[in-house]
């Protein structure tokens, strides 16, 4: 993440913001805006909504600078504000009917064995991920997850929030959050498999 180069620089920047220094506002927007845009886009799956969210997040942050405590990093604080703004936007947006997640989960025989025989992925994933088109493919498949599962996966596995924070932000119980994350990962594996398995390479 883009960040002020040192703790001292950050302290100076915050002091300038609080003093209403116009150049400091611009610096913050340039320094952190790209990252916030990416976070919002990942949660919302839409460029236009992501732009609105980034704008709201910065305005909200500038208004509440008085509440910013020096013991948090400015980047972390802005990140949380942007995640919240994106989730808020998600709630106000008209919900599309979701594809049931079960379609993407493994199925089992009566004796408890997997129905499917998993073919090993042809190429080590580390190696495959060195290619830009595979990274793009992963992002597309994340976007293809049903929304209520994608959000949990994005917050936990990409944005690095812990289970409790994620649960709080989404208004879910810790247990429900864990279940959704596990299902989201399983569903994403199912979506990636045809592209990473032997058949495709």
């Amino acid at each position: 993440m883009g960040s002020a180069t040192s703790v001292d620089d950050e302290a100076t920047l915050i002091a300038q913001l609080r003093a209403g220094d116009e150049a400091a506002y611009e610096q913050v927007v340039r320094l952190y805006g790209g990252r916030l845009l990416a976070v919002a886009r990942r949660i919302l799956g839409s460029d236009e909504d992501a732009r609105d969210v980034v704008q709201d997040a910065f305005l909200n942050a500038f208004r509440s600078l008085g509440r910013f405590e020096g013991n948090a990093k400015l980047s972390t604080w802005l990140h949380r504000i942007a995640v919240n703004a994106a989730l808020m936007k998600l709630r106000t947006r008209k919900r599309k009917p979701e594809q049931p997640i079960d379609t993407f989960l493994p199925s089992f025989l009566d004796d408890g064995h997997h129905e499917e025989r998993f073919q090993s992925w042809e190429e080590p994933v580390d190696k495959a991920l060195e290619r830009a088109e595979i990274r793009e493919l992963v992002r597309q498949q994340i976007d293809a997850l049903p929304e209520s599962y994608r959000t949990v996966l994005v917050l936990r596995d990409i944005e690095g929030l812990d289970t409790e924070e994620t649960a709080n932000m989404l208004g879910l119980s810790v247990n429900a959050t864990k279940i959704r994350l596990h299902r989201a990962r399983q569903a994403l594996r199912t979506l990636l498999a045809p592209h990473l398995g032997r058949a495709s390479s």
């Binding site: 116009e22 611009e26 845009l37 704008q55 990274r135």
Partner: protein, 79 residues
């Protein structure tokens, strides 16, 4: 432990949260079942692929915020 239960406990296993006794059953099943072993590998690779494709280190992150958005944010602040 059956494959079905193994799939259920995968997340706790990966995060190291599976209680010792259950972990033993889990690993015993894993040592006998190639299919579950493959499933575990792919589950872990899926988590990793998210981090690589979208995480902090991803080259696809927009390094810069678009110029018009910078202007829009700064203009909105003054309203």
């Amino acid at each position: 432990m059956k494959c079905r239960e193994l799939a259920e406990f995968l997340m706790e296993y990966v995060s190291g949260d599976l209680p010792a006794e259950r972990r033993e059953h889990f690993e015993f099943h894993l040592s006998k079942c190639r299919n579950c072993h493959e499933y575990l590998v792919q589950y872990e690779m899926t988590i990793k692929s998210c981090k690589v494709a979208c995480g902090e280190m991803s080259d696809e992150l927009p390094a810069n915020i678009p110029e018009d958005l910078v202007k829009a944010v700064l203009a909105a602040r003054k309203v």
